[in-house]
């Protein structure tokens, strides 16, 4: 459950938390795009380190590290699959360049997780909903999205309770072969899904009885407005994008293997 923990919003007063969710989202998308443009390890490392000041500024380093730790398994999987494919396709040899390209692809995934983690750790679901609404996303969708985000920790907690209940009935989740291990989770997943559906029906009734959707035009208590910090991040985002495009087209990127050989 540590991945979820690394995405859970906690209220902290920091310059990053105060930035408009729309601007932050644009920043995350920019990082996303840049990470997809490059597959070489050096620019990806640069992207990785670029975000650490944001983490420190937002004072969420501990949760952020936890989200990375949670993603470690998937990252290892990506690395093994890529290195493995190279190994088999290149006639059962593994060169340093192969390892570097697999590491690059893994790092791309880590960078994506890193930026999403910063976004979710520092953006309250309420602000996110508001930002979606201001971006002309229909209120129903914005609401569904923020509710889903808000219920992630609730579901994580419930999953833990269900696991405890099944363990108390002698279920051993870690026992058996790989396939058996997956099957072991059925007694956890079914109650989790059933109770999520029950909960959503109850929520729908509770909302309707509080006149949800009674008027077409809703007003908001808070209205989003861009401030100094927001403009600064917009500038940084544009800078990153322009820089990335320039590097991509005009700067030949060396691999580490190549640099070491020289």
């Amino acid at each position: 459950m540590s991945v979820f923990d690394g995405l859970r919003f906690r209220k902290v007063n920091s310059p990053i938390h105060n930035i408009d969710a729309r601007v932050k989202f644009a920043y995350v998308i920019a990082i996303f795009v840049v990470a997809i443009i490059f597959y070489q390890i050096i620019p990806l490392l640069f992207l990785f380190f670029l975000q650490i000041p944001f983490v420190l500024l937002a004072r969420v380093q501990r949760q952020w590290l936890r989200s990375l730790r949670g993603a470690a398994f998937l990252a290892a999987f990506i690395f093994i699959v890529n290195a493995g494919t190279d190994y088999f396709t290149s006639g059962y040899t593994l060169t340093a360049a192969n390892v570097e390209s697999a590491a690059g692809l893994t790092l791309r995934f880590v960078v994506l997780i890193e930026s999403f983690s910063i976004f979710f750790l520092t953006t309250s679901p309420d602000h996110l909903g508001l930002a979606l609404e201001e971006s002309r996303v229909p209120y129903e969708f914005a609401f569904a999205f923020t509710t889903a985000v808000r219920f992630v920790p609730v579901l994580a907690e419930e999953a833990q309770t269900i696991m405890d209940a099944q363990k108390a009935r002698g279920l051993e989740l870690e026992k058996g072969s790989f396939l058996k291990k997956i099957r072991n989770y059925i007694p956890v997943l079914i109650p989790l899904i059933v109770s999520a559906i029950r909960r959503s029906l109850e929520l729908a009734e509770a909302m309707e009885s509080r006149a949800w959707g009674a008027t077409k035009k809703r007003t908001n208590l808070y209205v989003l407005k861009l401030h100094k910090g927001d403009y600064a991040l917009i500038a940084i985002t544009i800078g990153i994008l322009v820089g990335a495009v320039y590097v991509h087209f005009y700067v030949p990127i060396q691999t580490i293997v190549h640099l070491l050989q020289r």
Partner: protein
């Protein structure tokens, strides 16, 4: 026998839920653990079958320390019924639901069959044998959850909030059921807020507050002590409230269950007619 020695427990988020709890529950005893929300009751009992391991101190179940064995091994002797049956029901039929734990513990197919029939019968669920547990009512689902634990006949039974969402009739059935377990020499531990239910059962009462045991003893002493109860936001059971008011007429204060109350009133009537007393 379950022995807790100075148990401390902190959750990963650093919340200290237990701050040094020591308690001995003898085999065959009936104990009610009471206290406010967040007092640490559920956290404490989850240590008995090893779902949680103490950060400090130790829990010894039948001579074995819980840190040295698995939940599955402990669960064989300690049955734990969770508060919400929906957190465990997943099978297509009630029958399969009850067989789940038996299969986990490696019972032979014919024994599984026999135990399922026995458990269904015990909790009056035989007619729902082939029904989906999701189609049953709340009270019935709770019974299926209980049956699925009783099926492997554990030596001790832990019931977390067994009376929530149950009507009075079901509570009475549950009470009789616990009495029956007692006569078979089983240990029963209930975690509850339900002061009336505890008063009717009259078990040994353990009162917890902020991760510590604040009072412990027979129900007649603890559930009639307004000062101790007020600290834990528990109201006196109704019988105790009446007897507290009647104590000015020479009746005892520490009465909590109906049968005892009836006896005392009848006896009082013999010694001195009620119209003279009041």
């Amino acid at each position: 026998m379950i022995v807790a020695e100075d148990v401390h427990f902190s959750y990963p988020n650093k919340v200290e839920a237990l701050k040094g709890v020591s308690l001995t529950i003898k085999t065959g005893e009936f104990v009610a653990i009471m206290g406010q929300n967040g007092a640490g009751k559920s956290t404490f009992v989850k240590h008995f079958n090893g779902l949680l391991k103490p950060t400090l101190g130790k829990i010894i179940v039948d001579g074995v320390e819980t840190t040295k064995t698995s939940v599955a091994a402990l669960a064989r002797n300690i049955g734990f019924v969770f508060q919400n049956p929906d957190h465990q029901l997943f099978s297509e039929t009630v029958e399969e639901e009850i067989a789940f734990a038996l299969k986990n513990f490696g019972f032979k197919p014919e024994v599984v069959e026999e135990r399922v029939t026995w458990a269904l019968n015990l909790l009056a669920l035989t007619q729902y044998r082939k029904t989906s547990p999701f189609l049953l009512s709340g009270g019935e689902r709770k019974r299926v959850a209980l049956a699925s634990v009783l099926a492997w006949d554990p030596q001790a039974l832990i019931l977390d909030e067994p009376t929530i969402g149950q009507d009075h009739m079901q509570k009475e059935i549950l009470r009789q059921f616990i009495v029956q377990m007692q006569t078979q020499g089983k240990t029963v531990v209930i975690v509850t807020h339900d002061v009336e239910f505890v008063a009717e059962c009259n078990p040994r009462v353990v009162l917890m507050r902020e991760g510590k045991i604040v009072a412990e003893g027979v129900g007649n002493d603890i559930l009639t002590n307004p000062d101790v109860l007020a600290e834990s936001s528990i109201v006196l059971p109704q019988i105790a409230q009446i007897f507290t008011k009647l104590s000015q007429f020479g009746l005892p204060k520490n009465v909590i269950d109906i049968y005892e109350a009836e006896k005392i009133i009848l006896k009082a009537k013999e010694t001195k007619p009620l119209n003279e007393r009041f």
